[in-house]
């Protein structure tokens, strides 16, 4: 108990335990509510687990890319619009009018995401423009392009099961347990966490985010590394576009992902990323995405009013940023 009086602030103490603690607390809170108020239907079940994983998949995927960009000292506000662009591209190419095979259309959607990401990266690094402004602009460019491709209405297209079923729940009793798309997100999360920790690229990204001038003087190719982060983020939004197409039951919708960027930034920050760059965690941002989904699911379970739910999630985001600040002092 003596530590209570030490000079380390209690906020810092909580922050060090990371977002996992927050997720644990939220899960525990709703479970306790369940035990007390409705013991017949406990909060945690295999079904709810699969549902939460599925609902968090798109935000989680986007948050992996966002975290890489934020660690490198940038931000990407165009993710929501890019989700719309890649999903309508996919849907348009699959319509009889174009008649592309599912494999080729998938590759094209991924390529569109990659190119959009490269474009963001090049504009930020070559023209030395503020990432906030550049991606605010490309957000409108991507949204407009999506609306052009979709001719301002939803596109419905037939596709094989491996594509439309990406986020469908697996057959009951199968050992797969989670939708295949969720496994892809988990694998990518682990992969990128390893990339950050064990490769030169990862160390360079942290170095640039902490102090880009020092990184440049140390011989790191700042522009190339930063552009790569945006490119990866774009490619992941191509994949997220496939997920969106699957969730919407084989449709591309030009108004998909409105406001998604804020949710994704929130997931990254809750997961420990600092908007000043140089800090962030891939697994943390996935936990952040899951935590916000758990809150939403739990608020319906606990019959919290819609408006109150927004206040709760908003307060959580501010609290996470406060933790971030306290740790930096």
């Amino acid at each position: 108990m003596a530590e209570v009086h030490s000079r380390i602030s209690p906020l810092t103490r909580i922050a060090r335990l990371g977002p996992w603690l927050g997720l644990g607390l939220v899960l525990l809170g709703f479970s306790v509510y369940g035990w007390v108020v409705k013991p017949d239907t406990p909060f945690l079940s295999a079904y709810r687990g699969a549902l939460i994983a599925k609902q968090a998949a798109i935000v989680g995927l986007a948050a992996i890319g966002m975290t890489l960009v934020i660690i490198g000292g940038g931000i990407d506000l165009a993710v929501g619009a890019l989700l719309a662009l890649t999903s309508v591209t996919l849907a348009r190419l699959l319509t009889p009018e174009w008649g592309w095979s599912a494999g080729l259309a998938t590759l094209a959607a991924l390529l569109v995401g990659l190119l959009a990401g490269v474009m963001n990266g090049v504009l930020v690094t070559r023209l030395r423009l503020a990432p906030f402004i550049v991606t605010l602009g490309t957000m409108l460019v991507f949204r407009g392009a999506a609306e052009l491709i979709a001719r301002q209405s939803k596109i419905s297209a037939a596709a094989p099961e491996w594509l439309t079923g990406l986020l469908d729940p697996p057959a009951p009793g199968s050992l797969q347990f989670l939708p295949s798309g969720v496994w892809i997100v988990i694998a990518l999360g682990l992969g990128f966490a390893g990339l950050l920790r064990f490769t030169v690229f990862g160390r360079a990204l942290f170095a640039i985010g902490s102090n880009s001038e020092a990184a440049r003087l140390a011989g790191i190719r700042v522009g190339l590394v930063q552009t790569s982060a945006y490119a990866i983020a774009g490619l992941l939004m191509g994949l997220a576009g496939l997920f969106e197409f699957s969730v919407l039951n084989g449709q591309g919708n030009p108004s998909s992902g409105l406001g998604l960027e804020l949710e994704v930034v929130a997931a990254s920050v809750i997961g420990g990323a600092s908007l000043r760059g140089g800090r962030g965690s891939i697994l943390g941002c996935l936990v952040g995405a899951v935590m916000m989904t758990v809150l939403r699911s739990g608020c319906v379970y606990a019959e919290v009013h819609d408006a109150t739910q927004k206040i709760v999630i908003g307060a959580l985001i501010v609290f996470a940023v406060a933790l971030d600040r306290s740790q930096r002092k």
Partner: protein, 327 residues
């Protein structure tokens, strides 16, 4: 040329100001400008179809269809109204994008002697000097949805209402109309009615899944107040592992290919749909009557219909489900 055009414009404007535009000359058809909220959505294309039908049947008027460049852009729509005033139009039919912002140009049109008819959604003040207001009664539509749902549920059970977005007048009227009517059935309990699905369809699916996972067991009926919300609920029902699709009575509002399929499959019990073709036709007819000096009813309600799986193949309902006809 430019000077001449300006001069012409000025003379026209003066003419309008003094109400002697010379539009009463017989023989020439009167020009009616019809200004929807947008031009891309199927709903507006169906309104246009009805307006064109009336245009064909009435030789004394000529309908000019022109929407704002993008839906949701009230200033652009104001610009369209002002443009028509400048070119000496005889009458205007307008679906205001913003109940308050469009009031001013409407008043200046009326002052300039151009009668204005409002369709689809109203203006903010009830005393606006308009010829008529032609629209569906959304409150009645909601009430009819409630009656259909209550009947399907046998007057017993728990219902769920998934709302669209805050601040959307038409859908809120539907939701309120629904809740008011459902209260009249003592055996029916509203389990939840405070959730908004939002405009994003994926978010609507998420909310619907969460609601079903919580209230799904023992649920008797569901109401959704617009196309995207009903679509989201339909997807969530179809994916429900307990097989709720078809077991729970589900009533939606508006139609689309997706919802019609749900109706066909028996997952949706009924759809309440508006009659956009009728709205376009009635608007032009009423405005033509007013221009001919006849009195017109201040409020014209276009019908809404409750369509079930059984009635969807009747010619009348098939036309309402697919107002633009086979494409």
């Amino acid at each position: 040329m430019r000077v001449l055009a300006r001069l012409g414009f000025g003379v026209a404007a003066l003419g309008l100001l003094f109400g002697c535009g010379g539009s009463d000359q017989s023989g020439r058809p009167k020009r009616i400008a019809m200004i929807p909220k947008g031009t891309n959505h199927e709903f507006w294309k169906a309104v246009e179809k009805g307006a064109k039908q009336a245009d064909q049947e009435l030789p004394e008027v000529e309908v000019i269809w022109k929407g704002p460049p993008g839906e949701g852009d009230a200033p652009a729509q104001i610009g369209v109204v002002e443009g028509f005033l400048a070119e000496k139009i005889d009458g205007i039919a307008l679906a205001p994008l913003d109940a308050k912002a469009l009031e001013k140009p409407v008043r200046s049109a009326v002052q300039a002697g151009v009668p204005v008819l409002i369709f689809d959604s109203g203006l903010a003040s009830a005393d606006a000097p308009i010829v008529s207001y032609v629209a569906t009664n959304n409150r009645t539509g909601g009430a009819r949805a409630a009656a259909a749902l209550a009947k399907a549920m046998g007057g017993q059970g728990r219902v769920l209402v998934l709302r669209y977005v805050q601040g959307s007048e038409s859908t809120i009227a539907r939701e309120e109309g629904f809740l008011e009517e459902i209260k009249k059935h003592p055996g029916i309990l509203v389990a939840s009615s405070d959730r908004f699905a939002g405009a994003d369809e994926r978010a609507a699916i998420d909310v619907a899944e969460n609601l079903l996972s919580n209230f799904g067991e023992g649920l008797g009926g569901i109401f959704c107040s617009n196309e995207s919300t009903a679509s989201g609920m339909l997807t969530a029902l179809r994916r429900d592992p307990r097989g709720l699709a078809g077991k729970v009575q589900f009533v939606g509002f508006d139609s689309s290919a997706n919802l019609v399929q749900g109706l066909k499959d028996g997952v949706i019990h009924a759809l309440v749909v508006q009659d956009p073709v009728g709205m376009g036709r009635e608007s032009v007819r009423a405005l033509a009557q007013a221009l001919a000096g006849k009195t017109v009813s201040k409020r014209i309600e276009t019908a809404e219909a409750v369509i079930t799986k059984e009635s969807m193949t009747t010619p009348e309902h098939a036309a309402l489900l697919n107002p633009l006809g086979p494409q």
